[in-house]
């Protein structure tokens, strides 16, 4: 029983942080209608910003996160404004090909970081990194709890932002029907720029929350892109709540798989769910709510 509890709790906590990364991706996917394969690389860049703040300025990663987020917001806006929007404007380039640009951005970011930091593994060791609280015999990592708390906080804030503010409503309008939104007077290129910025900032937040628990090297982005992609499909493209739930489900499924099947098949469990969802629930969990 304790083993089961330990497994599920770890799954939920980790899933919460996966969600945050995936929400950034789903937001961009909803508005832009393209898969952003550079998303994991943006997470990685965000982690390096937090890492730098920690090693050179001694700033705690949870505070460093609030430096990494604006930096990544800015980088995201630049990428959108000067790279992706330029391609979107050219009609002859199909959306499928716009995805290739994001692959290019990913490579440039990864190799750019490698020039400065080499391929070394780095990690942030804080005083509380391996502190744990025991609930019965279950050990819960403090950094994981804090990470989960922040992830949920950002998710709710984003939800409020999208449903309550004018800007948030414009983002949703653009994602539902871009042309109609333009006719209603929404400045779509500005909206896409802001959306990409917010998506990147959330990616940075997710990465920074994982930093005290995990480690960092230039190629780590692939891992996050893959996870975020699975979650986005699970939750339904463009749905924040779907992504939040999808993240938890992926986290729990991976944990259960690791405990009761084998750690070697952890990723297989996630991918099997991914295929099942595509086959039987092509719209993701969002389509369940809509019915």
């Amino acid at each position: 029983m304790e083993l089961f509890g330990q497994t599920v709790i770890c799954g939920i906590l980790l899933g919460g942080m996966y969600s945050l990364i995936a929400i950034g991706m789903t937001l961009i996917m909803g508005v832009m209608k393209i898969i952003n394969l550079a998303h994991g690389a943006l997470v990685m860049v965000g982690m390096y910003v937090t890492y730098l703040c920690f090693t050179y300025l001694g700033i705690d990663p949870y505070i460093g996160m609030f430096i990494a987020m604006p930096v990544l917001f800015f980088i995201g806006c630049l990428i959108q404004k000067y790279m992706i929007n330029r391609l979107v404007e050219v009609e002859s380039i199909l959306p499928e090909n716009q995805v290739l640009l994001t692959v290019g951005i990913m490579l440039v970011l990864t190799e750019g970081i490698r020039v400065f930091f080499k391929s070394d593994y780095r990690s942030v060791i804080t005083t509380y990194s391996s502190n744990t609280v025991f609930v019965g015999d279950m050990s819960i990592n403090v950094a994981m709890l804090i990470g989960f708390f922040f992830a949920m906080l950002f998710t709710s804030l984003l939800h409020l932002f999208l449903t309550k503010t004018d800007l948030g409503k414009s983002i949703r309008a653009t994602s539902q029907d871009r042309d109609a939104a333009v006719y209603m007077g929404v400045n779509s290129s500005k909206i896409t720029m802001i959306t990409f910025g917010i998506g990147s900032a959330l990616a940075a937040a997710g990465g920074s929350l994982l930093l005290p628990l995990f480690y960092l090297f230039p190629d780590i982005g692939h891992l996050f892109t893959a996870k975020a992609f699975i979650i986005t499909i699970l939750g339904g493209m463009g749905s924040t709540m779907g992504a939040a739930i999808g993240g938890m489900i992926l986290g729990i499924a991976e944990s259960l798989g690791a405990t009761y099947i084998s750690m070697g098949y952890k990723d297989v469990v996630g991918l099997v769910i991914f295929i099942l969802v595509l086959l039987f629930l092509p719209g993701g969990f969002r389509s369940l709510v809509k019915r």
């Binding site: 770890c10 391929s119 593994y121 990690s123 391996s130």
Partner: protein
């Protein structure tokens, strides 16, 4: 106006392409060089190891050059590095590129077992001598490939020779052991060897699982393992997984009398840096230690540290020693055809920082050097040799104190 822009872009692209082509061919030197292709993971998640090995190759090359040993006959040895990104398909195309386009005289490199295996297979098919640096899975030298040589790396199942010696001498007493390995060729080979050795001595394996590398959370597996109550854990992991595993064991308050790593990650300085005090008393098998009683080992360690600002571990020493083996073999070859180089390699008997290197056929292995292995243990943040007895730098700590008794 827009149309013109595209034309300018097209012209730029073509120019760029031509430049790339030119630089690709420009590397091919003149007739007075003998080229050695070295395939290592220089990008991707094994890049840290690949970079260390490339640095060591270059360091050895410069030393040899200063001693005039890179000139063999009337030709100069030239190293050509290729990146395999840690991927088998890339390793295969890198091999073919080096052999067919660059016309190398021989190949070396090979970090991961999976990539080394691919390179070895294609090298054998093309009758191209290949000297493995690190790739350790047993089947690389067990396939009867005459053109494949492995000097500086032991077969994965033989990394534990010294450790089993420790068990047989009665120093370590084992009843129930747990085994966790990453699911790569190296991990599988090590696990097979370990299982056989346990079976021979009647030791129970109470937990036996493989895992996918790069996990954030190892607790499900560790909690499972804790419930089986093993005396000892044998683990084969890359460096960051290794750090995550011992850190999370500490978090779970899971102590065993001994934790032995099977080389790879557990001897790296990064392992200690990233796992903090959780690395204390963790033991590992290894093929090389800087303070080993072999001439040049200590100097290599110091020189590397001064030059690159980082401590090398046995992977770097493997590459460094391999460069010396290559220079030695090429200096003895009658000409630089693959048969002659193969013959020269086969007759190798040279002393390196990894100990004496000789390519022999034994126990089903072909062209495999007989390995020296050591058992090391992290004590007060230093990696100390604890076995074999005659080369130890300090006494072993066994059984290891529990987490809450430290």
């Amino acid at each position: 106006m827009k149309k013109y822009r595209w034309q300018i872009l097209a012209v730029l692209l073509v120019t760029f392409g031509v430049m790339l082509l030119a630089s690709g061919c420009g590397g091919g030197g003149s007739a007075d060089t003998v080229k050695v292709g070295v395939i290592l993971p220089l990008t991707g998640d094994q890049a840290m190891f690949g970079t260390m090995e490339k640095n060591s190759f270059e360091m050895a090359y410069e030393e040899l050059k200063a001693a005039g040993k890179t000139k063999v006959g009337d030709k100069e040895i030239q190293l050509l590095f290729e990146d395999d990104q840690g991927k088998q398909d890339v390793a295969k195309s890198a091999t073919e590129k080096l052999v067919n386009q660059n016309k190398v005289a021989m190949l070396s490199g090979g970090y991961s077992s999976a990539c080394s295996n691919v390179i070895a297979g294609s090298a054998q098919n093309m009758n191209m001598p290949f000297l493995v640096v690190t790739g350790s899975s047993d089947d690389i030298t067990k396939s009867g490939w005459q053109y494949v040589f492995r000097g500086t790396a032991a077969p994965a199942s033989k990394y534990t020779v010294s450790f089993w010696n420790m068990v047989d001498e009665g120093v370590v007493k084992l009843n129930n052991v747990a085994l966790i390995v990453e699911n790569t060729d190296f991990g599988k080979s090590s696990a097979d060897g370990f299982r056989d050795d346990c079976a021979k001595r009647g030791i129970n394996i109470v937990f036996d699982q493989s895992y996918e590398h790069g996990a954030i959370d190892f607790k499900p597996m560790l909690a499972n393992m804790k419930s089986t109550n093993p005396d000892m854990i044998f683990a084969v992991s890359y460096v960051m997984d290794a750090a995550m595993i011992v850190k999370q064991m500490k978090e779970l308050d899971f102590s065993t009398e001994l934790f032995v790593g099977g080389g790879a990650g557990y001897t790296m300085p990064e392992f200690k840096d990233n796992s903090g005090d959780a690395s204390e008393y963790i033991a590992s098998t290894t093929l090389w230690v800087p303070n080993v009683a072999v001439p040049g080992a200590g100097e290599y360690f110091e020189n590397y540290k001064n030059k690159y600002g980082k401590e090398p571990d046995y992977h770097g020493a493997q590459a460094y020693a391999t460069m010396y083996v290559i220079a030695d073999a090429l200096s003895r070859a009658n000409d630089f055809t693959s048969t002659e180089i193969q013959k020269a390699l086969k007759e190798t008997d040279v002393m390196t920082v990894m100990g004496p290197i000789k390519f022999e056929d034994w126990e089903g292995y072909t062209n495999q050097n007989k390995p020296n292995t050591y058992v090391v243990q992290w004590q007060k943040g230093e990696l100390e040799v604890i076995w074999p007895e005659d080369v130890k730098s300090t006494d072993y700590v066994y059984p290891v104190p529990k987490w809450n008794e430290r």
